[in-house]
Symmetry: C2
Subunit: 358 residues, 2 copies
């Protein structure tokens, strides 16, 4: 099985640790000792060989991939001329993979998600691989733990597919965009809905066939790139063709309209680290009720604080439910409930052209 | 006029910026570009020559005095073998000064106070000098701006002294220890009470005479040290005599029992920087209502925060009335009303033998 890791994002919601020169996937957000992309690759150990692992990212991050991913062949770092969402990125990866083996299965994974139960994840991925080898376009479905309105959902049919393997897999009835709160509550109560974490498994040729059917212009462009791959015209063709690519996600451009889609449910402590408060579900509270990500905490009457402060001691006196993130050149102190406003902080810095802080 | 600057304190209330290796007087607490002792010396410019300025401090801080006070003669740094409160420290300085000119006037000043109106301060100090030359033991009286229970008070008599000069000076009726709240309110309403900021002016010989009368044992010890000063036995005599010194303040040991004491009232933005919230009265609020000491502030819906964070940007989201002090190896975040508890933080660090953070 191949793996294609999507590492082109420039997420700002984890500012000031996620930065333009090193977005969150290249950062050790949880203080675990590995960057998120390193954890993503490590999580595939035993399932995907390093030589079969590909990363697709922007040109300014190619060096970070080389530095952070030991043993990754340089030719497995695929560079997008510029960011164009997931449909073109995955298509570009398929153009490379079809030259190796179009019958092989590929797992597509975001570089910036956390998964706490690596064994459970591998079991689910193996099941998705089995389905893919049977011809399905597989997707991992994250069993919802709350009525989240920030994710897309996957609705399954009632009966499992008759596929071998240890875990159930279901036909997908439909993909759904982010719901409102009432709808999300309904999804949660129903039990037949999963969060879409953007982890797909398919034969390469099956994916390419979907592109050809649903996004023919994009497929034609990718076909031109694939033809140029063996020649030394690859760079010039890529530079010519890429700007014509649509800015469309794989979900919207391809998954929603696909037939024969299978979902493998999983409950593996998945977390997309969409904002700093997510650390609360990832890192156990200390005996005083604070969440120590990095740095030592010395507290007096202070609880529920998420603290990431390099190697510093952080002394807290009479403060509750703060998020404190120190990045060396910027220090964020936010009320936990207001952490979504970090986007406004970044917007202010952008407006002030403070690129050194972005 | 001589000046003796008391710089032996190891104040912990401004942790984590005030540290054992560099207590607050050797630190730029307000972000003004000068350490407190540098400001204290600068404030005397035109009144006291550098060669007539003495600093008394502990041996571990002698190097800091040399580094921070350009042009101070090395012999003007007087080293206490160990900290013994202000009465012995000032007596030791007098032992040195009487060899130069016992008829000259000396001003004794703490190294770690802020004074915003330097001109007003010099005028008051000049008036105190005039009184001292007339034989008085002079003290500067800080006109109270609130019913503070943390300071000693000086009560004056009703009529000014018949001394020349531009400012009034009054006979002191008595020195009073820290009052309770009701008494402090009464002092404030009365108008004849001043805070005692520990700034004294006197002829050297007048001070020594008070020591001889009120603290004869201490005077005898100082007399031995003075006799040894010219010889090369000074160090051994100091080492022998110093441990016998009582741990008594100049206020308690000498001022309270002195006769012919004059007080010169002043209103000069004096602040003893006893805790971090004092910065609120020293540093003007920015347009958003925060107090920027060091570091740039970017705020969303945040007010009343005191921020000292080196050269960092500090982004605040929905937080009010915090004190944030970053010292590079320790970060303090405290509710403003609870800042007195910083002493407990320091006590915890001491108990844990975390000397690197003290």
């Amino acid at each position: 099985m191949y793996a294609v890791i999507l590492a082109g994002g420039v997420g700002t919601r984890l500012w000031p640790r996620s930065r333009k020169h090193a977005p969150k996937q290249f950062t050790d957000i949880t203080g675990c000792g590995q960057t998120m992309i390193q954890s993503t690759v490590a999580r595939l150990e035993g399932l995907v060989a390093t030589g079969d692992t590909y990363v697709i990212t922007g040109s300014r991050y190619a060096g970070l991939c080389t530095d952070q991913l030991d043993g990754l062949p340089p030719e497995n770092i695929l560079v997008e001329p510029d960011g164009r969402n997931t449909a073109p990125a995955i298509a570009l990866a398929c153009a490379h993979l079809q030259l190796r083996d179009p019958d092989e299965v590929v797992a597509v994974l975001p570089a910036d998600h956390l998964i706490q139960d690596a064994v459970g994840f591998q079991n689910a991925l193996r099941q998705a691989e089995l389905c893919a080898r049977r011809g399905y376009l597989s997707v991992l479905g994250i069993e919802p733990t709350k009525a989240h309105t920030g994710y897309g959902y996957i609705q399954r049919e009632g009966r499992p597919l008759p596929v071998a393997g240890d875990l159930p897999a279901f036909p997908v009835k439909r993909f759904l965009e982010k719901p409102d709160e009432a709808t999300a509550e309904q999804f949660l109560a129903d039990g037949a809905y999963y969060w879409n974490g953007g982890i797909f498994v398919s034969r390469v040729k099956r994916l390419l066939a979907e592109y050809e059917r649903q996004m023919p212009a994009l497929f034609a462009a990718i076909d031109r790139i694939a033809s140029a791959l063996a020649s030394n015209e690859h760079d010039s063709v890529l530079a010519e063709v890429w700007p014509t690519m649509p800015d469309i996600s794989i979900d919207y451009g391809l998954m929603e309209g696909a037939q024969e889609v299978a979902v493998v449910p999983m409950q593996v402590g998945w977390n997309d680290m969409g904002s700093w408060d997510a650390l609360e579900t990832v890192i156990p509270r200390d005996e005083d009720g604070n969440i120590p990500v990095e740095g030592e905490i010395l507290q007096l009457n202070s609880r529920g604080n998420i603290i990431a402060a390099h190697k510093q001691l952080v002394a807290l006196i009479d403060v509750d439910d703060l998020i404190v993130i120190d990045s060396g050149d910027a220090l964020l102190i936010a009320k936990k409930d207001s952490i979504q406003q970090v986007k406004q902080v970044v917007a202010k810095l952008q407006a002030a052209k403070r690129s050194e802080l972005l």
